[in-house]
Amino acid sequence: MTRPFLPGFLIALGILIAGLLVAFLVGRYPVSIAELLDVLWSRGTGRSSNVSPAVENVVLLVRGPRVVAALLVGAALAIAGTAFQGLFRNPLVSPDILGASSGAALGAVLGIFFSLGVLMIELFAFAGGLAAVAAVYLIGSMLRSRDPVLVLVLAGVVIGALLGAGVGLIKYLADPYNQLPAMTFWLLGSLAGTTVADLLPLLGPVLIGSAVLLALRWRMNVMSLPEEEARALGVATMPMRIAIVAAATLVTAASVATSGIIGWVGLVVPHLARSLVGPDFARLLPTAALLGGGYLLFIDTLARTIAPVEIPLGILTAVIGTPFFIWLLADMQKSWSS
């Protein structure tokens, strides 16, 4: 029997709430639940709180923006991964596959190389991500093939490799004392420097892209069928694919521009969400968003607490993601051969 929706959704919601609590409470400056609720309550009602200003600062200024950013970036990457996996009918696909992440990386590294401001670096990352996907798509549509999806994925791999070489070249040319550490830090992914000002440029694109994908939820179900079947069912697959790729890329690029490159979330979380509520996008997208937010909140709390120095997020997600990927591969091999 297929899985009922509510239990799975509630589990995802529970994980998100647990992630939020852990992210607010745990750290070098421990905060109690009572203090957290007091600060949030007084903030919401406008009354003055009973807790010390230090606690208030930790909750609202230090951890607050970072918690919101982790929530949004995790949800964004999970939603984009869910969309890409459905569109490419391949559960091993992730937002990196069309070059979105590597394009954003090259853009950001260029921004750092030219010593631009933070906002310009984010804009460069954003433009890089969109340009890379556009290039991949152009190649895919120029090489007409019976299997357009395979051509797209391979074009993504090739463009990704080229962009990676570009990143390597700029790192090689960069000032090793001022620029290289910033680049490395950014390429490994981190939410450490997040401020309230970073949240709006993140929130807007994530909301727009997610709203588009959620509105197309039923079409996305049909798009996960083979191309010709989807067309025979009345879906104009070409414009639909462009719309879904554009929305998912927008969401990815916005999150990469904020947090740097955090791999694996977009691969791992959609699988967990699918195992909770099944493959229907109407259920899958909201569940993946909650789960992705909760997942990255836990990862980010780990990143800032398990060692005296912050551990880059990309490293933690890779340590968790690699064994998961191998398990997935073995599991799929099993179902292919049976």
Binding site: R217, N221, V222, L233
Partner: protein, 255 residues
């Protein structure tokens, strides 16, 4: 209502597969398309469905070229039952059938209560309503073929086009699918299917079209078109004919 192809050339931008093809399918009739591997059956099917553009000629529904219709308009006229395959994701059977309703809904809409009722009727008609909540990946090949038939019916089309609907089924399910195709025609649909078995054409079809190397070599009522001679010529292989003198039923044996 008729689905017609006139002077159709089919193929891909770099390769012509067939030319000069005329096909007529009327409402309420079953047409079988036979031919050896590589004769262009699938290419013709895809061109009739509007999945491939004709290289020359046109596909017409009631005299109107299908190339002028949108995907959704076309899907409300012609449903496609592809060969059974294993999908990537484990959608419940009900959702797969509901996908047949896509062309009836708006761009941003999900299936309505009416859509669910139509899908439920289609599942009941093919006797698969008890499978509604089972994942499509976990049912048998015969059941999947019935699910795809139910999806085509839920599409509420005028014509149903099936690609080798009996190919991967056991003997019992082959019979079931053949009689369901007859039932679709009886309810006013025009049905077109490809097959490698002339007996299936004799059993289910009113007319047959024989395709060899991209050309139509015979076309007409099944009993007239499907003879020992035409089949031997079509497949370039010896064929035996068995006739039951009481019922005048004919069957062919290969080899």
């Amino acid at each position: 209502m008729t689905l017609e192809a006139r002077a159709l050339s089919i193929g891909y931008s770099d390769r012509v597969v067939g030319h000069g093809l005329d096909v007529t399918l009327a409402a309420g009739e079953v047409l079988a398309l036979l031919g050896p591997n590589g004769s262009g059956k699938t290419t013709l099917l895809k061109t009739l469905l509007g999945l491939l553009q004709p290289l020359a000629g046109a596909v017409l529904v009631d005299g109107r070229a299908t190339s002028e219709l949108s995907s959704a308009e076309l899907a409300r006229l012609i449903a496609y039952v592809p060969q059974v395959h294993t999908p990537s994701f484990a959608f419940p059977v009900e959702t797969v059938v509901l996908m047949g309703r896509t062309a009836h809904g708006g761009l941003f809409s999900a299936p309505s209560a009416h859509d669910r009722a139509v899908a439920a009727d289609a599942m009941e008609r093919f006797g698969i309503d008890h499978l509604a909540q089972r994942p499509y990946t976990m049912i048998s090949g015969g059941e999947r073929q019935l699910v795809l038939l139910a999806r085509a019916l839920a599409q509420e089309p005028k014509f149903v086009v099936l690609d080798e609907p009996t190919a991967s089924l056991d003997f019992g399910n082959q019979g079931k699918v053949l009689s369901e195709m007859r039932a679709l025609a009886a309810s006013g649909h025009g049905v077109l299917f490809t097959t490698h078995d002339p007996n299936h054409a004799l059993r289910a079809a009113d007319r047959a079209t024989l395709l060899r190397a991209g050309e139509c070599i015979a076309e007409g009522p099944v009993r007239e078109v499907l003879t020992q001679e035409t089949l031997a010529a079509l497949y370039d292989a010896p064929v035996d004919q068995v006739t039951d003198s009481d019922s005048d039923t004919v069957a062919f044996l290969p080899g």
